[in-house]
């Protein structure tokens, strides 16, 4: 069920019925503790609905009103017992304790800023200590009252300046800590405007500072952030061409007749949208074209001298007369992505309706036909939220483009073995290294298809596992003639007696069918030998997306020990003795010493 576009009063009035309905399709349990400086129930009610609609099964703990500090620092027993995956600290401007008086000196201002910051650092440190989980915390919105007018953002006694300083410090703290994420409340308040954001009647009546609309905006933004933590962000933007990326119809107007460039107001709006799409691509979002068009005419649009986007910017390009839902299915197969990874933008409401009806997993925002508004509409949907940007993200688009070339190359070889050799692959297979822990956590939380157990881990857990001598971990980095694929596979196993249990095995779908799994098994067996392990035990648990690895262990020569009657899970074993090396096509380049 899609609830994204329902107005807040509808969500609140029908909440209990909606909740019942959504519960039927929710399956990923997640525990969220909300520590509030204001009454948090409405935000939590809305957040619950949004998370349920995204497939999460959230359980909430809410602090008593305005006891966020006490429950985090002084009496954390209840919070600790709840064992949260995420702690969200929901405070507003109203909760600031050390606001400077108007006549404060610069020294006093600095002192107050650091006192306030220290108070929050105490909260974060305490949560880290006893819960060791992800912390999300608001920065502060600009104050609605500026006693000093414009000087409020300049003066030592300015509340506005105080908040700006504090927000800067929060951002600095978040940059320095993987477990702390800043939720940009200030941006949400600015986008909505203070008149629509603050509700003084509700503040005095129920200690709820913001309007229902503001609370929905907060809940949507939080849901996107939580989705990003668990890898549910969209990965690809699919674009129509005529009257979406340029004005006019390329098949009729020709490349010289379409509107793009800086010459007219309309052309400028299309140029701005192309620039927005290019900016998304540069931060790792894939772009694809799905257009009802003659393929040559469609491509010619990008030869326009003012075109911002070039053909190489697209990971997939479908221009034909087939239905768009069918084309989008093909794009999903080509890119090896689930349908729920896509956002589809088309100015034509009929096309949006068909795709939305035929492919309910695809996100189809109601963009209307005014291209000038498209960037703002996409922004408001929070579709491509990220919690951290790695170098791999920024290189990903190139890597997908190189994949297309690899597929072309593949067609010319007599055998698949010959093709694999032609790729001249080299891999570095090593235990978890500190510099990769961020990338490892990111892969663990966003890989769905080649993922045997789909267990999710937080950065802190990965950090602990990396240094725990009872664990065997490994990662693979793969390079080939087309370039570096980066870190693409992760295994976590723990040792118990003479058994090595493989808790997690996943691989990026960019490098399927390249024998990386064979090279990793060779490595695991080698480690097992060093650790006097006699048997490797592998597990499979089925999800909606990982059917491709159902027989992973079977293909690797493991023996099936048990399979659940409904096939939802299985476990397998492989004796270490007598194992013969499997990998033939990948050169193992350097291998960090096998650490115990």
């Amino acid at each position: 069920m899609k609830i994204q576009n329902l107005p807040v009063e509808h969500l609140l009035q029908k909440r209990k019925a909606l909740r019942r309905e959504l519960l039927e399709n929710a399956h990923s349990p997640i525990k969220i503790a909300v520590l509030g400086g204001v009454t948090t129930h409405e935000v939590v009610d809305l957040l619950e609905l949004l998370l349920l609609a995204d497939g999460f099964l959230p359980a909430f703990y809410q602090s008593d009103y305005n006891r966020y500090y006490e429950e985090a620092v002084l009496e954390p027993e209840q919070l600790r017992a709840f064992q949260p995956d995420i702690v969200y600290v929901h405070t507003h401007w109203k909760n600031l304790h050390h606001l400077p008086p108007v006549d404060a000196t610069e020294g006093e201002f600095q002192e107050r800023t650091s006192d306030e910051l220290e108070r929050y650092q105490t909260i974060w440190n305490s949560i880290q200590e006893f819960a060791g989980c992800q912390i999300i915390r608001n920065n502060f919105e600009n104050p609605p009252v500026r006693i000093l007018g414009s000087q409020d953002s300049v003066s030592h006694g300015g509340t506005t300046r105080f908040i700006h300083e504090l927000n800067r410090e929060f951002a600095r703290a978040a940059r320095g800590s993987r477990s702390l994420l800043v939720h940009d409340l200030n941006a949400l308040a600015a986008a909505m405007g203070h008149a629509q954001w603050f509700d003084w009647g509700r503040w005095y009546s129920y200690k709820m500072l913001t309007t229902p609309e503001a609370n929905l905006a907060i809940a949507k933004s939080l849901a996107a952030m939580i989705g990003a933590i668990f890898g549910k962000t969209k990965k690809c933007l699919i674009l129509d061409l005529d009257n979406t990326l340029w004005g006019g119809v390329i098949g009729e107007d020709g490349v010289n007749g379409i509107e793009i460039g800086k010459e007219t107001a309309v052309a400028e709006a299309y140029t701005a949208f192309q620039e927005y799409c290019l900016a998304l691509r540069r931060r790792g979002v894939l772009l694809a074209v799905c257009s009802k068009n003659d393929p040559d005419a469609a491509k010619s649009g990008f030869s326009h001298p003012a075109s911002i986007l070039a053909l190489e910017d697209f990971a997939a390009f479908k221009a034909n007369w087939e239905s768009k839902d069918r084309n989008i299915r093909e794009i999903a197969e080509e890119l090896n992505l689930g349908l729920d990874s896509f956002v589809f933008v088309d100015d034509n409401p009929a096309e949006r309706a068909i795709v939305s009806a035929q492919l309910p997993e695809v996100t189809v925002p109601d963009v209307g036909s005014e291209v000038a508004l498209y960037p703002a509409i996409l922004e408001a949907g929070h579709f491509f939220e990220v919690v951290s940007l790695s170098k791999e993200d920024l290189q990903r688009t190139e890597s997908y483009a190189a994949n297309a070339t690899r597929s072309t190359l593949k067609a010319k070889f007599a055998s698949y073995d010959e093709y694999l050799d032609s790729l001249r692959m080299t891999a570095d297979i090593s235990p978890f290294q500190p510099i990769y822990l961020e990338r490892i956590t990111q892969l663990i939380n966003k890989s769905n298809q080649f993922n045997l157990t789909t267990l999710r881990y937080t950065f802190t857990e990965i950090e602990r596992i990396a240094s725990d001598p009872n664990y065997t971990t490994c990662t693979a980095r793969l390079s080939d003639v087309f370039g570096d694929n980066g870190l693409i596979s992760v295994v976590i196993g723990h040792r118990e007696g003479a058994d090595l249990h493989i808790d997690l095995w996943l691989m990026s779908c960019r490098v399927l069918k390249r024998d990386v799994e064979l090279a990793m098994l060779d490595y695991l067996v080698e480690c097992a030998g060093n650790d006097r392990i006699e048997r490797i035990v592998g597990y499979f648990s089925r999800t909606a997306k990982n059917a491709m690895v159902e027989d992973h262990y079977g293909k690797l020569g493991f023996t099936l020990q048990h399979r659940a009657d409904d096939g939802s899970s299985s476990f397998w074993t492989l004796p270490v003795a007598g194992y013969l090396q499997r990998n033939k096509h990948i050169l193992i380049e350097s291998r960090a010493e096998v650490v115990k």
Binding site: L12, Q13, A17, H41, G201, Y204, S205, Y206
Partner: protein, 81 residues
């Protein structure tokens, strides 16, 4: 809008928010005799009512109401303005 019409609009709002499909709202209904009408439900009811009638209750206006009948009177007054 007359009192009966306002009452008819309130009925589904209360049923939905309190999740009581069989609820029969009367002018005598109040927080003590309607199941689940607690302070949290109250906030939801107020939002739904304000949006439905396009009104905004002033601070303290709801505090002195004894039951739904009085709320209907207040809504009537505010929508007629």
């Amino acid at each position: 809008m007359n009192a009966a019409a306002i009452m008819a609009e309130l009925q589904p709002i209360f049923s939905d928010v309190l999740d009581l499909p069989g609820l029969q709202l009367t002018p005598q209904s109040n927080a003590t005799n309607v199941e689940g009408w607690d302070s949290l439900a109250h906030v939801n009811l107020v939002v739904a009512i304000e949006k439905r009638f396009g009104i905004k209750f002033a601070l303290g206006e709801l505090r002195d109401l004894k039951n739904v009948g009085e709320m209907v009177d207040l809504i009537q007054k505010k929508t007629e303005r």
